[in-house]
Structures are given as structure tokens and as C-alpha cells.
Amino acid sequence: MRMLGRISRKPWMWSWTAAFVVWFATIMVTGGASTFDLSQAALTFAAFSIIVGIGQMFVITLGPGNIDLSVPSTMTLAGTLALKLMEVDNAMIVPGLVIAMITGVGVGVVNYALIKALRIPPIIATLSVSFIVQSAAIWTNRGLRIKPPSFLADFTTANTLGVPNVAIIALVISVFAWFLLEKTIYGRWISAVGQSMPAAKMAGIPVDGTRFVTYIFCAVLASLAGYLLACFSGGAALNMGSEYLLMSIAVVVLGGTAVAGGDSNVPGIWGASLFMFLVVSMLNTYGLGAGIRLIMTGLIIISVIMLAGGRAR
């Protein structure tokens, strides 16, 4: 019982509970027959939100006002450039990955340069950058969908022991992120910067270095997600990241990370990402129209945050 009490105080508990409830409600429609397929689909698609969500979480942890709105266009540009470079050639997989990563680093550097040198608030700076990056994506291949190399296409859509490969990648990244946050000095630094920049500075923390690395980390994860998504869905599309703008923010906050910064939560992102996928599936399954579906999604998000994030004053 006390154990239960302790767990219910964990901020990630709520997103997991919500995901489970929605999952259960969905499989009930087919009397449980769809359990395996649904779970597999959920893991597959949640994986992409998890990868971008973790990057966004690092940025949000940096404190109020820190947010990266360039995530969608970074995904698009990275996917586009990588697929263009690889040209359906299996031998080019690694160079493709490298170019995607370089894209991420580049976007991260520009983002932070604007934030730091021009003192533009992150929300506006990253928005502006996202426009430029989107243009760059249009310019590079004018919206043509190039197919991924066959090995990558197979790999990203396949399962290992019934677990989708992309979910395994997401898991590896999550563990790495968790380790960074909880065990390393870098994790302490981000959390300190997120709680109070002046205090972090006076405690001798390299504030700019920490923020710089974090913005790059976020953009690199977005690039990786873009690379994987482009391979998974059979080609990079100019609008393929657009969904992940609100999604990346939603999974972070639903997952129990403090929007005010300083406190992050990796397991919560999993719960929230699964939830965000499953809730759409559930409402689709129940055959509800787009209007009702949107309203329900909104109300569920609010209910979850009220249960999870609510602290009576």
C-alpha cells in the first residue's frame, strides 16, 4: 500500500496510467483480439515521439521560455538530405546518418547563436530558424520523395523478438538520456541552469556551454528521428515533421517534466508518447468524427495534467 502511495506520487505514473486505460479501452472493442497488433503499432509510432520528445525535454529542462520549435523542420531537412545523399544505395547508410547528424548540429548551433548573440527569446529564435530550415529543405529537393535504401527501409519497419526495431532504438536513447540526466555532472548542470541561471552561474557552472550542448542535443535527436521516420515511411516528405511540433511538447509535459524547468522525467515520455498514439487510435476505433476526436483528445490531456501536475496551493 505504501509502495502504491509512493508510486502514485511519481510524476510519470499518470501518463502511464492514462496510456494503459486508453489501450485497454481500445482492445476491448475487439474483445482483446487486437492486443498484440495494437501494442506493436503503438510502440512503433510512439518511438518517434519519444526520440524527439527526449530532445525537447532536455531543452525544456533548461528553464522557463526554453523550447525548440525548429524540431519539425529539422526532422524534414535531415530526412531529406540523408535520403538524397543515400540515393537508395545501401552502401551510403552511414554517410546518410552522418549528414543527418551534421544537420542537427548545424541547426542547434544556429539556434543557440541567435538565442545567445542576438538575445532572441528561444521560442521566437527557434521558430525563425524553423522557417529557414524548412526553406532549405524545399530548396534541396523540391519536395520529391526519394526512397530509402532497402536495408534501412526493412530495418526500420521490422521487429526483433516482436518488438519494433525503432522502439528498441528509442529505448537505447532513453536509457542514455536517463543516465545523462540522473548520473552525470551534465545532468546536474542542466537541472541547475533550469532552476536559476544566475545561481548556476555563480556556482561556477558553464551556463552557456550547457545550454549550447543541450540545444544541439535536441536538434540532433530531431535529426535522428527525421532520418528514421523518412526511412520508416518510405521517403522524406516536406511536411513529415509538422505533427511533431505540438507532439514533442505535449509528451514532455504530459510525462511529468516541470514546464518551469529544472526537473525532467524520462519514463514519463514513454507513457505520454504511447498515450498520444493510443488516444487517437481509440477515438478512431470508436468511429468518432474529427471534431469529437479533437475535443476528447484535449479534454483527456487536461484531465491527465490535472491529476498529475495538480498541486493544491
Partner: protein, 484 residues
Amino acid sequence: MTGDTLTAIVEVADAKVSFGAVKALDGVTLAIMPGECVGVVGHNGAGKSTIVSVINGGLTPHQGNISSDGERLARYGIGVARARGVRCVFQELSLCPNLTVIENTRILHRHLGGFGWRKRARKVIERSLDLVFPGHGIESDRSVGELSIAERQMVEIAMAFSDAGVAPRLVILDEPTSSLDAGLAEQMLGYVRRFVDAGGSVIFISHILNEILTTASRIVVMKDGRIVADRRSIDWTEHSLVESMGSVAKGEANRRAVRDLAGAPVVVEQIGPGLPFRAKRGEVVGLAGLAGHGQTRMLMKLHAAETSDWLARREATVAFVAGDRRLNGVFELWSILKNFSIGSLGDLTNRGVVDVAAEMERATDWKRRIDIRTQDLANRILSLSGGNQQKVLFARALSTRAPVVLMDDPMRGVDVGTKQEVYEIIRQQAASGRTFVWYSTEMEEVCLCDRVYVFRDGAIVAELEGDAVTEGNILAVSFRGAAA
């Protein structure tokens, strides 16, 4: 009530307040009569700020009752207290920095509204500022954020004494002079005396015992959530106060031993307007002068020169102890442990991974060394009283291996006993070669330094050394400007 006995403005009977396991108030009974100034002293965490919150209506005691003007009030709250003329200056500054002084006045006085309130509010606050701090020079349409910390404190004090319809009858001052220099503090104390003579009441909390002794008509000593002594102030001496608070007075033992540092190498240097700043190895250098004349800026410069915002130094060369701990001291979400260790993580990590055992060991050691009052280092930092939080910040800086420690008026709100312990640690560490640069608004601390730079208008105007470091000399230079 009989006609000839005065009734208390506010009377708290047997109040108990606890935060979790901490008993902040453990049965306190206190009555404030019209026309008296009650001084409250006690160690950090004794419950002084808590009793203030109870009287102010901001905190409802879990047990006990409150009466005012002879009436027992079942539903006592901020509104009721204010209507009865209770005003409060809180330990932390509590104005809205984005609003102007006038607008802050509007917020404070709920009944000032209606058409043309700006004019009225301006009159109210300017009159009060002129009364309490004649010659203050604060423009009331500047926003509070632009004022210096001392000016903000002045505004806050003047605000509490201002009269806009409901006259102040009981003004509570919780460490009001912590950011004021001697001159301003004296102005304020003078006004408090006049206010009390005119029939008003004041509760005055301070760690500067001299202020209390000269201003209060009655002094109450608190210890661990209880009142342990309550006497007229003429019956107290500094010595007896300290004794009843539970710490041993050390008196003149405070004076530093004269040391010869002529041969020691210079470890920090900063050249700006006025005299150059230099500090030698093992030296305790004081920054003095009136509050807000560039001392903090000098510390920031020294800090910025020795740290990088982009890359972590392998060996930190400076450590910093913040005075304004809410702003640049504590990390509010963190435990005491993490707040302590953040300064020395470089030593406690192995290839970037934090060694949790070493971290705990070092924290436990320092908890013992400077007596941080908590059962568990995993508790949140905010569960500590103000003074104890300050001790954590001290421990954070002192536990590093940095050869230079910068201190920005670090003893704000630290109790006498703790101060003595910290002084001792500073002395020891200086002897073993660490350099301290110490800005303080308290003369007693400045006099502990080997050498003192006096600031005026953002520049160093004088350097005093050895026996020349006296209150008289410093004041003379601060007020006269360029001398020496």
C-alpha cells in the same frame, strides 16, 4: 476588560505551528501593546519569521488563538489584520519589481482605488519616504526593479509606515536593516522610535543586537519555537542577550591576529576606476562603504574573470557565496545535498559520472562542521530556515578547492552563534592560504579583515590596512568620498 488597562493590538495565545516534523512554533504567547517596540531575537530557525506570519494573518496556527483589541478573532487572516492596521516588512523583499513604486503602493493599499489613484498613491508614498528616510532621492515613478537593493528595502519600509486611510498601528519589521548601510539603518531606527513615541507599535526582528538594544522597549528571545525570555530592554545587555539565545559571546576574541602578508603573492587583481584591487594569498580582503556603491559589481567582475560560461574549468579558481540567496544562491527544487555539492562536483565526478557515495560523505562532514539543522540531507533546501540555507551556501563554497572565495554579504540573516563558527572557519582557512574577498554591510565583519577597500560611486576610493581598519575610518571615507 477594564478601562484602565491597555488592550493589546494583537495577542497570540499558545500558538503552535509545525511543518512536517519541524515544530516552528511550539506554544508561543505574545501580546503587543500600543506604544511599544518589541524586539525579537533568536537563532536561525527559532521561529521568528513564523510568528510574524501568524500575527500578519498569512499563516493560521494549528493550535492557539489570536485576539485583537480585546476581541477574540476566530477567523483571522490577512484582510482582518490589515484592517486593524497591522503591516509587515518581510525578511525577503516582497515588492513587485515590474511595477513602479506608486503602483506597488496601490497594491499594498487596497482602498486607494478609484479615479485619480495615481496622484493619491504618489502622495502617500512620497510623504512616508520623506518622513522615514529624509533626503532619500527615490523617484516614485521608477519601477522597483531598477532600484538598488537598499532602495527597495527603503521603499518597502516606507510603504509599511505609510497611511492611506487605515493608519498603521502595528508594524512588523523582519530583519529590515539587512541590506541597509549604517546611515540608512539609523534613519530608520530613529523613525521607529518616533513612531512608537507617538503611540504606534512595532515588532522588530534583527540579528544586530545593538540595533535591538537601542530601539526596542521590550526584548523577547526565542529558541526552538518557544519564547525563552521576555524583559524590558534596559534589563538586557548584549552579553546577556547572546547568552540567553544559547550562544557564547566571544567579544574581542574576534579581532584578527595581525599577520604579515607582505611576501605573499597576489592571486587576484582587478583594475578599474579608482584604486586597483589586489588580493594576496591567504588574505582576507574586505569591501566596505555604503550599500550599493559597486561592491557587488566588483565581486561579479572578479568571478566573471575567473570562470568561463562556455567550458568548465578542471580546477575552479574562485568560489562564490551569494548574499541574495533567492536570486543567485539556492536551487529551489533540489535537496540540501545537491545544493551543497554543485560547487564541487568537479571533485566528486569520475569521467563525468557523479560519485554519489563521495558526495554524501562530504556533505555529511560539512553538515556536522557548520551545524546545518536538518534531519536528512535529502530534504528540500527550502525546508531550511533562511539562516540554515545560507550555511549550505557557505559550505558549498568552502568545500571547494578554489584558492579564492568571494563573499557577497554572506551573513545576511545568520545568527550570532553561527557567525562565530563561520568566522573561525574563515580564519583557519585563510591561515592555510585561502584568500577571501568579503563584502559586508556589517561593520563588525569588515573589522575582521586584513585589509579593506572602501567603495564610493562604483570605484575604490580608499585602502585601509591593519589597525587603520576601524569603523570610524571607514565611515569617514565612505561619506567624505575620495580621501586617503
